[in-house]
Amino acid sequence: MRLSPDDLIFWQYGFLKLNGTIVSTWGLMFVLAIGSKLITRKLSNGPHRSRWQNLLEIIVTSIEKQIEDVGLRHPQKYIGFLGTLFLFVALASLFTILPGYEPPTGSLSTTAALALCVLVVVPFSGIKEQGLGGYLKSYLEPTVIMLPFNIISELSRTLALAVRLFGNMMSGTMILAILLTVTPFIFPIVMSALGLLTGMVQAYIFSILATVYIAAATRGRTATPEPTDELSV
């Protein structure tokens, strides 16, 4: 039984390997990039717009609203990164509908890479927003004794992001494989639907957590969150 798509090797030359993870990641990149390019070729401002443009607008505006709701101001600066994270992970688990496809996020390499991207973007945006001194000073809040704990929490948050996504995706595919050997076909289909649901939830969780980390870094650790408008009467 395969633990991850890393073990499915299509082509090998020396130590250069073309395994299942790389091929499915390229497929996803192809679909996302070429699809968006084709849809945004003729954008229209008027009341008549194509269905696909409508779909993309719905996706982009709802992601932007979510980012704003969580407390990250000026979502236009971060929506490129956060939106792509969400779309990549969501599409990776959505394509499990296709037969013979294994999600690349079921391999620890992919999820570790995504978590490392978040690890780099968070201090980068914090420094851009608050300056180097201001960002480094936020590690000393609330007291200087918390400095090692703040550093450890940065690293363990990244590790948790990677392992959470990997564990959820891998367990989905593994449960399916195990069930296929012991039960009739109807149960694996139900489990595959559950895997689809958890895939979508995990994509949302990944991007929302990245948003919260960036919001914490750009706002400073002791800033109080603004009250949301929906609760005011």
Binding site: L3, Q66, V163, R164, G167, I205, I208, V212, E230, L231
Partner: protein, 93 residues
């Protein structure tokens, strides 16, 4: 009992115990989280979207602990380095 049998017994028993004990805590925690979220939804239905979103994020954080235990269990069964080492020794003999 030679070392190969000992490693096999230890891996199998630990894998089972890890996932059994490791899913008790997160399950209890998630139950409490959902119960509190439901009661606060009943008290303030117009904050439903905020409550639901925070509930999902909280559930994912709690779930991660169970996922860690699951990953350890899978490693012990399928990618066990001690077992691979002992098998390689036995095959090389």
């Amino acid at each position: 009992m030679d070392s190969m049998t000992l490693i096999a017994i230890a891996s199998i028993v630990t894998a089972g115990l890890t996932i059994a004990l490791g899913s008790i805590g997160p399950a209890l925690g998630e139950g409490r989280a959902v119960a509190t979220a439901l009661s606060s939804l009943a008290q303030q239905p117009d904050a439903a979207s905020t409550i639901t979103r925070t509930l999902f994020v909280g559930l994912a954080m709690i779930e991660s602990v169970a996922i860690y235990c699951f990953v350890i269990s899978m490693i012990l069964i399928f990618a066990n380095p001690f077992w691979n080492h002992v098998i390689a020794l036995a095959a090389g003999k």
